[in-house]
């Protein structure tokens, strides 16, 4: 059991609901995306360092992080950006195409603190065969302070067509 848990923690996370692609006609300005909650651990930061090639020590070596004036190791900015990509692509579904993710960093986040990703529809533009949905997206730590804010654009294929 402990072996399985270990593999689970390092391997593919479990998908709970088979993802479906959103019908563009059901999307309206003001719609909120289902929140995505992450529980980052130092282990995850090490995995992301390996996967992304960002080996800056402040993301996994506590001594270096503290020497740099940080409270401890901090979550990669690119990991928070990737979570926002996940927030949008999980909501829009597998046939959607995430065109743009834009983020600004307003604060640091640490492993052990839950991180909450949220989004809201700000624009819906039907086009030829695709509808482009504009979103406001953000991430916040346990105090509710938005440490990552940004925008995203996702294309939804027209209903019925692929």
């Amino acid at each position: 059991m402990s072996v399985a848990t270990e593999q689970g923690a390092a391997g593919r996370p479990e998908a709970i609901v088979p993802p479906r692609t959103l019908e563009p006609t059901t999307v309206a300005v003001g719609d909120r995306l289902p929140a995505l909650i992450k529980q980052p651990t130092t282990r995850q930061l090490v995995m992301f360092a390996g996967a992304s090639g960002d080996f800056y020590e402040i993301h996994y070596d506590n001594a270096v992080a503290v020497e740099s004036g940080l409270p401890g190791v901090i979550v990669h900015g690119y990991l928070k950006m990737a979570w926002l990509g996940e927030l949008v692509s999980a909501w829009a579904g597998p046939d959607a195409f995430v065109q743009r993710v834009e983020v600004s960093y307003r604060g640091t986040d640490v492993p052990g603190d839950a991180y909450r990703l949220e989004g809201q529809v700000t624009g819906v533009s039907p086009g030829d065969g695709v509808t482009t949905v504009e979103l406001e997206i953000w991430g916040e730590g346990p105090t509710g302070a938005k440490t990552t804010i940004g925008t995203a654009a996702v294309q939804l294929p027209a209903a019925g067509g692929r």
């Binding site: 390092a10 391997g11 593919r12 996370p13 479990e14 998908a15 709970i16 088979p18 993802p19 692609t21 992450k38 995850q44 995995m47 992301f48 390996g50 996967a51 992304s52 090639g53 960002d54 900015g77 690119y78 990991l79 950006m81 990737a82 979570w83 990509g85 996940e86 949008v88 692509s89 999980a90 597998p94 046939d95 195409f97 995430v98 065109q99 743009r100 993710v101 834009e102 983020v103 600004s104 960093y105 940004g150 294929p157 692929r162």
Partner: protein
């Protein structure tokens, strides 16, 4: 330490500087590891059978996947301020990244601006990386903002 005016003037000399191109061949394993490290369970990144039934006809990479290909860009040493911060980034994609793709990334020192903030002056740098495929088509553009103050 340089004044803000002198610092931005020196930094401007580097605008347009282009670093060496680097390339990678995207593998299914690279995509899977990236998705696992985010904790993203989407079967589109792992499950060939599921992915084949989608519009893409096979596995694709998560939206900001190409952030793992960071081509080197010689950063100018500007004697200004004490802190360097990552201000943010933009990732624009023009098509999904797939296993087997050869992606070439090349970074450019795109812009520098001087700005007066509450705590004094700051330099705001922009680096831009263009990602193209083996046929020379644009796949994605990544833009990063760095702040020195």
């Amino acid at each position: 330490m340089l004044s803000l005016e002198a610092a931005v003037e020196k930094a401007r000399q580097y605008v347009g500087l282009v670093g060496p191109a680097v390339s990678m061949t995207v593998e299914r394993t690279t995509i899977r590891r990236f998705a696992e490290s985010i904790g993203d369970p989407n079967p589109l990144y792992y499950d060939e059978e599921f992915a084949r039934a989608t519009r893409w006809g096979g596995i694709i990479a998560p939206p900001t996947f190409l952030c793992l290909l960071l081509p080197p860009l010689p950063a100018p040493e500007i004697d200004f301020g004490t802190v360097k911060l990552n201000g943010g980034s933009v990732f624009e994609s023009f098509r999904p990244v797939r296993p087997g793709d050869v992606i070439i990334g090349q970074a450019e020192y795109a812009d520098v601006q001087a700005k007066q903030g509450k705590g004094g002056g700051m330099l705001i740098f922009q680096g831009r990386t263009r990602y193209t495929d083996g046929d020379g088509h644009l796949v994605a553009i990544g833009t990063g903002t760095g702040i020195q103050k």
